[in-house]
Symmetry: C2
DNA sequence: CAATTTCCATACGCTTGCGTATTGACATTT
DNA sequence: AAATGTCAATACGCAAGCGTATGGAAATTG
């Protein structure tokens, strides 16, 4: 994370966005007030004006992340009428590179912060219920839809990590497109 | 991690096993010499007798993890002749709780240590090639086997995280068995 | 214009943890 | 018995980072 141009005056959003950037690349544990301040071109005096402490900052950042992510999913996916199209849009969205996915991936691995586990669980259950609903609308029984949504979601989570782990062995554009089509074929009823 | 009974004298294996326990539960970044020493009932003087530094310890611990895991996979899965049985064994093994899975999950999230990325990639590629080989032996084309093994592996990785994230909502034994059967049905040719 | 508010810099004390140096205790070898 | 090797304890200096306190600068309000 590079130092930004010194800005006239910072607001809480500036801090939160910088925090999400750290979380995306290094996880919640790497969020540190002083290096963040340095990156933003200030010292920590102003940080403590805006936030009670480090955890307050992280919670605010995650709240923002969650809200933005919900909005994106609603616009891109759950505005579609046809459940098949919705599921397809999910597969394509889930394979797109984005900071949101990176943040989500690091939250998945967090073992130390109860508030992280809480946000993670809520976001995950919400997404799963959207997927289950879509599968049910295609005609699946409730119990099959439940298993299938869990499976499809596991594929998303797995893909998040595979893309990073096998960087350079997965990243050819045609391979990604092929894979997504393959997955959609396997997981769409 | 609790303090163990004070042992007469520690060997490198003691340190490595304690380190894997920390990695499993909190990730590589949480490995710290002094708390480890405390947990083992000694002070860090003897740590530095056995290991050059913290990284040396972590690398040794990961080397042990990798070696044990390879052995387990070979015994439980790749000793089977029938590729269908092998794949089924993989699905069941991958859903079993184990420290090895926990370690693997935290390695997946590590963004800070090049040597971790290296081990992770090697382990992952090795497992993928085993899976691909098994799918091919069931009669799949090479390119389908490749995609299918990536998909099946993504499901494993996804499941690792879902089990933790949705703790208490996934952990009923019948649900796990149902899920594994469901997955096997979907992903076995 | 003075008072208040907002944002910010800096000093301080504390904690955690690292690696190095030194010394001690015990076991093994010569 | 002396020398050597193994394991371990402790002190030390350093760094990173946290939160608190204090004072300053700029903007806004009355």
């Amino acid at each position: 994370m590079k130092s930004t141009t010194k800005k006239k005056s910072l607001n809480p959003e500036d801090w939160e966005l910088a925090t999400l950037d750290v979380i995306a690349h290094e996880g919640v544990g790497a969020v540190a007030v002083e290096p963040l301040a340095k990156a933003l071109g200030v010292t920590k005096g102003s940080f403590y004006w805006h936030f009670a402490n480090r955890e307050d900052l992280i919670q605010s950042a995650l709240k923002r992340w969650r809200s933005d992510d919900q909005m994106l999913i609603k616009q891109r996916i759950f505005s579609l009428d046809d459940p098949h199209e919705r599921l397809k849009a999910w597969f394509f969205l889930s394979a797109e590179p984005s900071q949101s996915h990176l943040v989500y991936a690091t939250l998945l691995a967090d073992r130390k912060h109860g508030f992280v586990a809480k946000v993670l669980k809520e976001v995950t259950l919400e997404r799963l219920s959207y997927l289950q609903k879509a599968y049910q609308e295609t005609g699946m029984s409730e119990s099959d839809a439940k298993q299938q949504s869990l499976l499809a979601y596991s594929v998303y989570v797995g893909y998040l990590h595979m893309a990073k782990t096998l960087h350079g062995k997965l990243k050819e554009s045609e391979n990604i497109q092929n894979y997504v089509h393959y997955v959609a074929n396997q997981l769409l009823p």
